[in-house]
C-alpha cells in the first residue's frame, strides 16, 4: 500500500474516533466512575503475574481431559455397534466374497473411522466454549511473549492448539491471522502438532511395547518431540523463508461471558464437519482399498485368509528395503504407505495384516516380535512427523491457493521423519539398545 493511502486511512481512523467521542460525550450519561466488574475480578486471577501461566496450563489440560472423558462412552458404543454389524453381516451373507467386503471392508472400515469422531467433537466443543467465554483472547495474551520469541504471534497459538484435535480445521483457523508470513509459518509447522488421529497409533505401539507403566511416558515424549520440532522449524522458517518480525500484537480482551450453548455447539459443528467430511470420503474410501489389496488376488489368498499372498504383501516387500535400516519389516512399510491417507489407517492396516481385532492387536505385535522398544519408539516418531495426511495437504493447498506449499510441506516433513527416526535408532544403538 502506498504511503499516501496509509496516511489517508490513519486520518480516517482519527476522524472516526473523534466523531465517536463527541457523540458519546453528548449522549451518554456515565454512572459512578470506577465499577469493579466481574471481568476485572476474573482477570485479577486469570492474568495474575504468578497464577496466569499455571492457570493457563491447567485450562489446557482440563480441555483435553474433558474431550477424552466425555467422548469415552460414545467410543465404546460405536465400537460395539460396528463389531456386532460386522459379525452379523459376516454370517448372514452366504457369498463369502460379498460377506468379506461388507463385514471387513464396509463395517470394519466405518467402525475404525467413526471411533475418532467423539474425541474430536469433544475437543472442538471445549475449544468453542473457551472461545465464547472470552478466555481464548487471554490465552493469546498470556502466551504471546513465548510465541513472539519463537518468531510467531499470540494468534498462532489457537491454530496450533486446534492442531492437537485435527490439522485440517487448524490450518483453516489461521485465516484469523492478518500477516501473511506469520500465517504461512503457522500453517507449515502445524502438521508437526500431533493430531488426535495419530494417538491410536501411539496407543497401540506404546501400549504393546512399553507396558502400562511406561506407555503414558512414551506417548507424552512423542507429543513433546512434536512440539520441540514445531518450535525449531518455526525458528528456521522465520530466519530463512519468511524473514522479518512477527506482525504487531493488538488484540481486544473482551468481557467474559457465559458461553451460549447453541452457539458453542454451532462452532463445534462447523469445525467438526470438516473432519466428518474427510472421514466419510477419503478415509472410508481408503479403508475399502486396504481391504481390497489385502484380500486379493482372491484365489491366492484363499478368500482373504492368507495375507502373505496378497497385493498388499507384494507392495510391502517391494518398499521394505527403505525401512530395513530402522528395523521395520514389510508390514510397517505397508502401514506407513497407507498412513499417507490418514494416520489412523496405520492401526487399521495392522489389524488387517495381523488378522486381529483392535483389542488383540497389541498382543499380536508383541508375539510376532515386530518391534523392539527402540524401533517401536522410532516408528512412533516417524508416524508423528512423516507427511501430513491427504486432507491436511488439501487444506494447505486450498488456504495458500497453490500446490507449491503443500508439496514443500510433504518433502520437508518426510525428510525430517527419516532424519529424526534415524537419529533415535542410532542414539539408541550407541547406548546399547537393540
Amino acid at each position: 500500500m502506498s504511503e499516501y493511502a496509509e496516511n489517508l486511512r490513519s486520518a480516517f481512523a482519527q476522524r472516526r474516533y473523534e466523531r465517536i467521542a463527541s457523540i458519546v460525550d453528548s449522549t451518554v450519561i456515565k454512572g459512578r466512575g470506577e465499577i469493579f466488574t466481574l471481568t476485572d475480578m476474573l482477570d485479577q486471577v486469570f492474568l495474575n503475574k504468578h497464577l496466569g501461566i499455571p492457570i493457563f496450563l491447567t485450562v489446557l489440560w482440563t480441555m483435553f481431559q474433558f474431550a477424552f472423558a466425555v467422548s469415552e462412552p460414545f467410543v465404546v458404543i460405536i465400537e460395539k455397534i460396528f463389531e456386532m454389524l460386522g459379525a452379523w453381516s459376516g454370517q448372514a451373507i452366504s457369498d463369502p466374497h460379498l460377506a468379506s467386503f461388507v463385514s471387513l471392508g464396509i463395517f470394519g472400515g466405518l467402525g475404525s473411522v467413526l471411533v475418532f469422531i467423539p474425541p474430536i467433537f469433544g475437543l472442538f466443543l471445549a475449544l468453542s466454549v473457551l472461545e465464547d467465554s472470552g478466555y481464548m483472547a487471554r490465552a493469546a495474551f498470556v502466551m504471546d511473549r513465548f510465541m513472539y520469541r519463537l518468531g510467531l504471534h499470540g494468534r498462532s497459538f489457537i491454530p496450533l492448539m486446534i492442531g492437537f484435535g485435527c490439522n485440517v480445521p487448524a490450518i483453516m483457523a489461521t485465516r484469523s491471522m492478518d500477516s501473511e508470513k506469520d500465517r504461512m509459518i503457522t500453517m507449515l509447522i502445524n502438521p508437526l502438532i500431533s493430531c488426535s488421529a495419530r494417538l491410536p497409533v501411539y496407543v497401540l505401539i506404546a501400549g504393546a511395547l512399553f507396558g502400562a507403566a511406561y506407555a503414558g511416558t512414551a506417548i507424552f515424549a512423542v507429543y513433546a518431540l512434536g512440539i520441540v520440532l514445531a518450535v525449531a522449524t518455526a525458528l528456521i522458517f522465520r530466519r530463512t523463508l519468511f524473514r522479518g518480525e512477527p506482525s504487531p500484537f493488538v488484540l481486544e480482551l473482551p468481557p467474559y461471558a457465559v458461553p451460549d450453548a447453541s452457539s458453542s455447539i454451532l462452532h463445534m459443528w462447523s469445525r467438526g464437519r470438516m473432519f466428518l467430511k474427510k472421514a466419510g470420503t477419503i478415509i472410508f474410501g481408503m479403508t475399502i482399498i486396504v481391504w481390497f489389496l489385502s484380500t486379493h488376488p482372491w484365489e491366492e489368498t484363499s478368500g482373504g485368509q492368507v495375507i502373505a499372498e496378497s497385493y498388499i504383501a507384494w507392495i510391502g516387500h517391494a518398499i521394505e528395503p527403505v525401512f530395513q535400516p530402522f528395523g521395520w519389516d514389510w508390514m510397517a512399510a505397508v502401514a506407513l504407505l497407507f498412513g499417507l491417507v490418514a494416520k489412523e489407517v496405520v492401526v487399521g492396516t495392522y489389524g488387517v495384516l495381523l488378522g486381529a481385532e483392535e483389542a488383540g492387536l497389541g498382543e499380536a505385535l508383541v508375539s510376532q516380535e515386530l518391534f523392539t522398544p527402540l524401533t517401536g519408539f522410532a516408528f512412533m516418531a516417524f508416524v508423528l512427523i512423516y507427511v501430513p495426511c491427504v486432507a491436511t495437504i488439501g487444506a494447505i493447498a486450498k488456504e495458500t491457493n497453490s500446490w507449491r506449499w503443500p508439496a514443500f510441506a510433504l518433502v520437508y516433513q518426510t525428510a525430517l521423519a527419516f532424519i529424526v527416526s534415524g537419529v533415535i535408532i542410532a542414539a539408541g544403538r550407541l547406548v546399547g539398545l537393540s
Binding site: N7, S10, E18, V142, P248, F249, V250, E252
Partner: protein, 80 residues
C-alpha cells in the same frame, strides 16, 4: 504540568493522553484503527505474566498490545 512518556515506560495504574504516534505506516494505521488515536485517554491495567504484552483500558474496553507496539505511542502524563 505534564510530561511526555512512551507507553511502554508506564507502570500499571498510570495513564495519559496520546500525544503522538510514531510515523511508521502500516503499524500506525493498525493502532489507530483499534482506537489508539491522538487525544484518546488510556491507562495501563496490567502486564502479562511473562512481562509482555501490556493491557490498557481505552474508552471503556481492554486492549492488549506488545511493548514493541506500545513504544510507538507517546503519552502526555500528569507529572505527580
Amino acid at each position: 504540568m505534564s510530561i511526555l512518556k512512551r507507553l511502554d515506560e508506564l507502570v500499571p495504574g498510570q495513564g495519559g493522553r496520546i500525544a503522538s504516534i510514531s510515523p511508521c505506516g502500516n503499524l500506525r494505521r493498525r493502532l489507530m484503527e483499534m482506537g489508539l488515536v491522538i487525544g484518546s485517554e488510556l491507562m495501563v491495567i496490567r502486564v502479562a505474566p511473562a512481562g509482555d504484552p501490556v493491557e490498557v483500558l481505552l474508552r471503556g474496553y481492554s486492549l492488549a498490545l506488545r511493548k514493541n507496539e506500545a513504544k510507538q505511542l507517546i503519552l502526555e502524563v500528569d507529572a505527580a
